[in-house]
């Protein structure tokens, strides 16, 4: 049943997150990184595969003995739904850990524009300290008003911040370079998760 595949427990959520963040990860590493029992991990991965949310490649070995390389499947009908759960949960975690960001994220969400706003760097890695800057990346067609709105929102932020701005086309063009790969790996989407979905889905 579909209900069995929903990440309704913390352990399932950790497994799903681990697969989402690590392409072609094997079962042993899923168990290790998600800190779950082998039985639960294997069972949940099988369920995710059944609904096409996880895709599995068989690597090496024989027909009976092989290593399963598990990845999040961005092309399945249910992927967008699971992707939204993962990204919204990450945003919630970020706000929980760094309460100072809460009002700024709320105001960014209120901007009436189709832009995507990401936090990357130490805050997105959940490794920020008092000295850390908040690194923002804005993807989309941004006009003067929206740029002004973003800058004004952060005027009361008690720590330093930086803002990078790119159109979606530019972002996709540079997707393979080191900065963009870092952003893709360690990011929290604070506005417009739905629009960002198309980017990893295209890779």
């Amino acid at each position: 049943m579909l209900i069995d595949v929903l990440p309704a427990t913390k352990a399932k959520m950790r497994i799903l997150n681990t697969i989402y963040n690590n392409r072609d990860i094997n079962i042993r590493n899923i168990i290790k990184l998600s800190k779950t029992s082998p039985n639960l991990a294997v069972d949940y991965v099988n369920k995710l595969e059944k609904y096409n949310i996880a895709k599995i490649k068989k690597i090496g070995g024989t027909k009976k003995n092989y290593v399963k390389a598990v990845s999040f499947n961005f092309k399945a009908p249910l992927s967008r739904f699971f992707y939204a759960i993962i990204e919204i949960s990450r945003k919630e975690e970020l706000i929980k850990k760094y309460a100072i960001l809460k009002p700024f994220i709320a105001q960014i969400e209120n901007i009436k524009s189709g832009i995507i706003v990401l936090i990357y760097g130490s805050y997105a890695r959940f490794a920020a300290d008092k000295e850390s800057d908040v690194d923002l990346w804005v993807v989309g067609n941004i006009n003067k008003t929206v740029k002004r709105d973003i800058e004004e929102i952060f005027v009361t932020l008690p720590v330093k911040y930086s803002i990078g701005i790119e159109t979606k086309k530019e972002f996709l063009k540079k997707i393979r370079d080191a900065i963009h790969q870092n952003i893709l790996r360690d990011k929290v989407i604070i506005k417009n998760e739905n629009a960002f979905f198309e980017i990893p889905a295209k890779l």
Binding site: K102, P103, F104, A106, Q107, E152, P158
Partner: protein
């Protein structure tokens, strides 16, 4: 300059209530539109950023004017969010925030000080008190120091951060 100011807005609870009643009688509080607090906060931060720019340009008087407006809009954002009211009168606004316990004593003192001082010096409520133009602003604006501007800006930042923490 700011240091020499004696606060004339009431401090004691009874006097605050009396002042608040007087504001009510004079119809200084108006019903706001739902969710308008977001727009008020946005305007407040727009004014704060402008105040920071004026400070960088060493325009101490304009720093104070814009920071004052930023405080006023932030105060109304808070009053609107919590009580769906707003006030164009700065003194009544500050009193309402105290009356409804939306700010603590320390913040109330800081806001009162600014209201007392710059209301007169810069004729900020120009539309409502035209008689003050010429009487104060053309003579006293040059008395505003960098330190005054710095302090008002600091209070504006502190107050707006407090308001957005409460309403967002």
């Amino acid at each position: 300059m700011l240091e020499k100011i004696k606060i004339r807005l009431p401090k004691k609870e009874k006097s605050i209530e009396k002042f608040f009643s007087s504001c009510e009688k004079r119809k200084k509080f108006v019903q706001d539109i739902e969710n308008y607090n977001e727009k008020r906060l946005k305007k407040s931060k727009h004014d704060l950023k402008a105040a920071i720019s004026e400070f960088k340009e060493e325009n101490w008087d304009w720093t104070v004017v814009k920071a004052y407006y930023a405080i006023h809009h932030a105060g109304n954002a808070l009053l609107s969010k919590e009580k769906l009211l707003f006030s164009k009168d700065h003194s009544c606004l500050v009193i309402a925030l105290a009356h409804y316990n939306l700010i603590d004593k320390q913040l109330f003192q800081k806001l009162s000080k600014i209201a007392e001082q710059f209301h007169n010096t810069l004729s900020i409520d120009i539309a409502f008190e035209l008689r003050k133009i010429g009487q104060y602003d053309v003579e006293r604006w040059e008395d505003i120091t960098k330190e005054d501007a710095e302090k008002v800006l600091e209070i504006a930042k502190e107050f707006i951060a407090y308001v957005e923490g409460r309403i967002c």
